[in-house]
């Protein structure tokens, strides 16, 4: 029976964007001004409220995504929140909203949304280097994003950042880390994982070995940094490495059928898993129309579960870290992110090497003794 602890909905409110980042998987649709209309959102919320209540799920998070969501008015977000409060509130479901934004169109009314906790968290998309985050005229927009990061900081609003790892940004990885580390900003570095059109990522995607080299560099930089910021996916690998070293009991292996917790909702209401987003064969149905249980029992969802199981049985089944690493990342890997071994099987070509590397590093010769929260060098 489906019973995750909490559920995340990545809601594509609009595809419209003022930028044309060269690697964006939504690139072909960024000029589409259509937005998710409130009647559809209301139906979605009723559907979610019933579906989650029927399965005793008490918490959900909405990741408000685009396109660029901050091209939409504050009034629109307040109207969504009012409906969430009534529909989900009456069902006893706790919820919160997160926005992922390029932060180039941050208005005072948007800042007020965060102050009013209608938006609980904000993630800023910025690379700092690579010159891939450009507007329609081809101008790099990082300066505008930086200015608005300043405005948020001045308003006392914390935020995180996401950068894309590509051949263009990889050479600058130490400077990128230095920026986020010294700014004390939680940071996620995300290798290109979806294609918007054929040929989009030619000569820009790193190999698995190259990604590992970057991630190892980041681990080393993090290890020596003064702030030890929340750095994903490195922190996730450290968690798994420590659990593996400790032979921690209570292993957890992700089961998509019972724990599926991440749903991508397209602007028209069609629902997908992250791995299979926009692939019609893997669509669960339409959340504006189909009851939630129908989405879960749909042929598309069954295919997505079978795909996830196929990947984890191929890559995780015999891995010594399985259970310490729960296999979620492999199960939800996009096709672009899968690495194929020469024997024809899918290979865990980044996560496992990283956990191995961190395990080795945590077990090197120099000894630190830790007494409760204090520590000293031998």
């Amino acid at each position: 029976m489906w019973h995750p602890q909490k559920v995340q909905f990545v809601v594509k409110l609009t595809k419209l964007c003022n930028l044309r980042c060269k690697y964006c998987y939504e690139y072909p649709y960024l000029g589409d001004a259509a937005k998710m209309e409130l009647p559809g959102i209301e139906k979605m919320l009723h559907n979610i409220a019933k579906g989650l209540s029927d399965h005793a799920v008490k918490e959900c998070e909405f990741i408000l995504h685009g396109g660029e969501p901050l091209l939409l008015s504050a009034e629109y977000f307040r109207a969504i929140y009012a409906k969430q409060k009534v529909i989900l509130g009456n069902a006893g479901i706790a919820f919160y909203n997160v926005i992922q934004s390029n932060l180039t169109n941050l208005k005072e009314e948007h800042i007020q949304l965060i102050k009013d906790e209608i938006i609980s968290h904000i993630g800023v998309s910025i690379d700092l280097f690579g010159d891939e985050r450009v507007n329609i005229a081809g101008k790099n927009m990082d300066d505008k994003t930086l200015q608005n990061m300043d405005r948020l900081a001045k308003a006392g609003i914390g935020f995180g950042a996401i950068s894309v790892l590509s051949k263009k940004t990889a050479p600058h990885i130490k400077k990128m880390f230095s920026f986020f580390s010294q700014s004390n900003i939680p940071w996620r570095i995300l290798p290109i994982d979806l294609v918007g059109f054929d040929g989009q990522h030619d000569n820009n995607v790193l190999t698995a070995d190259e990604i590992c080299t970057v991630f190892k560099t980041l681990f080393e930089e993090w290890l020596q940094s003064e702030n030890a910021i929340k750095l994903e996916p490195i922190n996730e690998y450290i968690d798994a490495a420590i659990a593996s070293i400790n032979n921690r009991t209570g292993k957890h292996k992700f089961d998509k059928e019972t724990e599926d917790s991440l749903f991508v909702v397209n602007t028209n209401g069609d629902v997908y898993s992250e791995a299979d987003a926009y692939n019609a064969n893997f669509s669960y149905g339409n959340i504006f129309i189909d009851p939630f249980d129908q989405l879960l029992s749909s042929p598309g969802h069954k295919r997505a579960i079978a795909r996830a199981n196929l990947i984890t049985s191929s890559t995780c089944g015999h891995c010594i870290h399985y259970g310490y690493c729960n296999g979620f990342r492999m199960a939800e890997s996009t096709t672009e992110k899968l690495y194929w071994h020469k024997d024809g099987n899918i290979s865990c070509a980044v996560i496992r090497p990283m956990i191995d590397y961190i395990k080795d590093r945590l077990q090197e010769e120099k000894v630190m003794k830790i007494y409760d929260s204090a520590f000293s060098l031998d």
């Binding site: 997160v98 968290h121 300066d143 006392g156 914390g158 700014s183 996620r188 940094s225 520590f375």
Partner: protein, 93 residues
């Protein structure tokens, strides 16, 4: 080797080149790490102040890293030298 990190009153961690802050994070993970992995853990971000509280700090920092960029409203191209002047109070952003 597998016993290098132990959950105990005295925990021994073998690792070189580690900062106090990173050590604390690792110790916290040793003592009670959250379930490894999980859905999109990078998306919901931790609230709290950033290290830079003053207007212009972010731009100054990145420029000090050797990058130059044009700022809207400014007719000149900001360079690392200008950042030094800003820091010295000779120019404003």
């Amino acid at each position: 080797m597998a016993k290098a990190i132990k959950k105990a009153e005295e925990t021994t961690v073998k690792v070189s080149n580690i900062s106090p802050a990173a050590m604390k994070v690792i110790l916290a993970k040793v003592k009670g790490a959250p379930d490894p992995g999980g859905p999109r853990s990078g998306e919901p971000f931790v609230k709290g102040p950033t290290g830079f509280e003053q207007s212009g700090d972010f731009i100054k920092f990145i420029l000090s890293e050797g990058k130059s960029m044009s700022l809207p409203g400014n007719s000149f191209k900001i360079t690392a030298d200008i950042v030094k002047d800003i820091s010295a109070g000779k120019q404003g952003l």
